[in-house]
């Protein structure tokens, strides 16, 4: 098999495809503590992340997305990774994840199943697909309801 075919298989590995075909935690929260919407103007993708907080603890995360497999799977995995964490721990996880993609470093340390996305760094036009849910969650946790973009 060629490097190229290996790389493609690594990008669309089974865990990514499973999450994209049957994403977890999709839908809206009726009265979220906070929410944010993110756009990728390059492809028209859109994701809204809803967060329920109880004191310092994030008790529920949901998302609605019109997005590609990479973005949808990243969002699905994100909701599982960050759920039930304190705001501080969630923010640290978000920071670490975005830093890893932005600087293409410590990819082995990506939290939970996000490690499956290490290969996306070889696809400059697709990195934003993986990071959009995380950027959107970052905005939701740091500002009131608002809209963000990958640009």
């Amino acid at each position: 098999m060629t490097d190229s075919a290996d790389s493609l298989k690594a990008l669309y590995q089974s865990i990514v495809l499973e999450h994209s075909r049957s994403p977890h935690n999709t839908g809206r929260l009726e009265e979220p503590s906070t929410s944010a919407t993110g756009h990728n103007p390059l492809c028209g993708d859109k994701i809204t992340v809803f967060v329920q907080a109880d004191g310092d603890s994030l008790t529920a995360l949901k998302f609605e997305a019109t997005a590609c497999a990479i973005c949808t799977a990243s969002a699905s995995i994100m909701t599982e990774t960050v759920d039930n964490r304190s705001r501080g721990a969630a923010s640290e996880t978000i920071r670490r994840t975005l830093d890893a993609f932005e600087h293409q470093r410590n990819l082995d340390d990506l939290p939970g199943d996000m490690a499956a996305f290490a290969e996306v760094c070889r696809y400059p036009s697709r990195v934003k697909c993986a990071t959009l849910p995380w950027q959107t969650l970052h905005v939701a946790l740091n500002e009131n309801t608002t809209t963000t973009t990958t640009e």
Binding site: Y12, L42, G44, D45, T66
Partner: protein, 418 residues
């Protein structure tokens, strides 16, 4: 390439009679991810044939100097080459005079030029008609203008095949309508709009007309006098020429009445602090040193297209579009977006259970270059209630081999993603 690429269109529908166009384009002679390159993204930007590359190199290596200024030999040569490109453009679109041919950076700049100058005689409440299938370049300048001056934008809708509801145009026109802005060919759908008919309706009601011809000029013969529009804009890089060069055709009588746009050198006759007199057409609209190499490259692209013949280009691409349409619609779950009866060179589609962005990445791995997304036509996507499409667009170098490679690539992508 082997001879098979050219013989892949049957001689009955291939008017080029064995001319292997693909070989004229050096960039196509490469492997992408270990596969033959199937370039199906010409609607975004077409590749350049060797004569265009050579014309630019020859100018840069031998003839470069500023135009319309010097008395020395190089300046003469550069001016001669630049103005000769203008003559070619005039002939290519059948304008009446070279004074009607303004070089711009591209279609977008040409439209912005019209927006900034034509509107100066309008008043708040005046109306501009655009269509639902316009590229953002023919929407946003008018929106910005409308916001700034209180003009009103009205939109001519499309049907579910992606065809304009032309019969609604007369109802959109009233005594405040100043301009109809209309694409000749939709970049997202491939629809060929009945521009001559629409222009006639507008002119009958004394409404000015601007045609965005960026996607038409590379694919069919265009005659601006037959269309009878006031303005016609297009880009070099969609028609096998360089980026950064485009054309605004403007009817001379109207262009004479427009105020200047950008100020600077070359657009003036005399300058003093008590006042400035402006140059004649078309130079009045070409402030500053122009893209000389770009214009020369565009001229060479026109020579190249004319050597093939635009009618032949249209016939060949139409046969290939039919082949591609038949082939792609064999794929289960594939939905063509844009099924106009009169259509050219664009196959926009979605595939059930997949996202265009993922298709694009997987196709690239198989050497197939397509565009994915909203194609700078978000209102079109909204009409069809989709975020984006995958778009394969054809150029003169494409053959059935490219379509077969696309089909095979899509089959593989569906195996992976579904």
């Amino acid at each position: 390439m082997t001879a098979s690429s050219e013989s892949s269109l049957s001689p009955a529908v291939d008017p080029l009679n064995g001319h292997d166009v693909r070989r004229d384009f050096p960039v196509l002679d490469q492997q992408i991810n270990g596969n033959r390159l199937a370039f199906l993204d010409s609607a975004a930007s077409a590749q350049r044939p060797r004569p265009v590359l050579e014309a630019i190199a020859a100018y840069e290596e031998r003839d470069h100097a500023n135009v319309h200024r010097g008395v020395h030999t190089l300046s003469h040569r550069a001016t001669e080459a630049y103005e000769s490109a203008r003559k070619k453009v005039r002939r290519f679109v059948n304008a009446a005079s070279e004074r009607e041919i303004v070089f711009t950076r591209g279609t977008t700049e040409a439209i912005n030029l019209v927006a900034a100058t034509l509107s100066q005689s309008w008043t708040s409440g005046d109306e501009i008609i655009v269509t639902e299938l316009e590229h953002h370049a023919n929407i946003v300048p008018w929106q910005m203008l409308a916001d700034q001056h209180g003009f009103r934008l009205r939109v001519l809708p499309i049907n579910n095949r992606g065809e304009l509801l032309v019969e609604q145009l007369p109802d959109l026109i009233n005594d405040r309508t100043r301009l109809l802005c209309l694409a000749h060919v939709s970049n997202a759908l491939g629809t060929i709009n009945p521009v001559t008919e629409c222009v006639a309706m507008a002119r009958a009601r004394n409404v000015r007309t601007l045609i965005d011809g960026a996607q038409a000029v590379p694919h069919m013969p265009v005659d601006v006098r037959a269309v009878d529009c006031d303005f016609y804009a297009f880009s070099g890089h969609k028609m096998y020429g360089p980026t950064g060069i485009g054309v605004l055709y403007g009817r001379e009588s109207l262009m004479q009445s427009l105020p200047p746009w950008q100020g600077g050198g070359d657009m003036i006759l005399t300058v003093s602090f008590s006042g400035t007199t402006f140059n004649e057409l078309p130079y009045r609209f070409e402030a500053g040193t122009p893209n000389i190499a770009g214009a020369i490259g565009l001229g060479a692209a026109i020579d190249y297209l004319e050597s093939i013949g635009m009618a032949n280009v249209a016939t060949r691409e139409s046969a290939l579009l039919k082949y591609a349409t038949d082939k792609l619609t064999e794929l289960p779950g594939l939905r063509l977006i844009g099924t106009a009866a009169n259509k050219t060179s664009v196959l926009s589609f979605t595939v059930e259970g997949t996202h265009p962005h993922d298709l694009g990445t997987i196709l690239d791995h198989q050497g197939v270059a397509i565009r994915t997304g909203h194609h700078c036509a978000m209102p079109v996507m909204e009409h069809f209630n989709i975020a984006g499409t995958a778009r394969a667009s054809l150029g003169i170098y494409n053959t059935t081999d490219d379509i077969d490679q696309l089909y095979k690539g899509l089959t593989k992508a569906l195996e992976m993603l579904r």
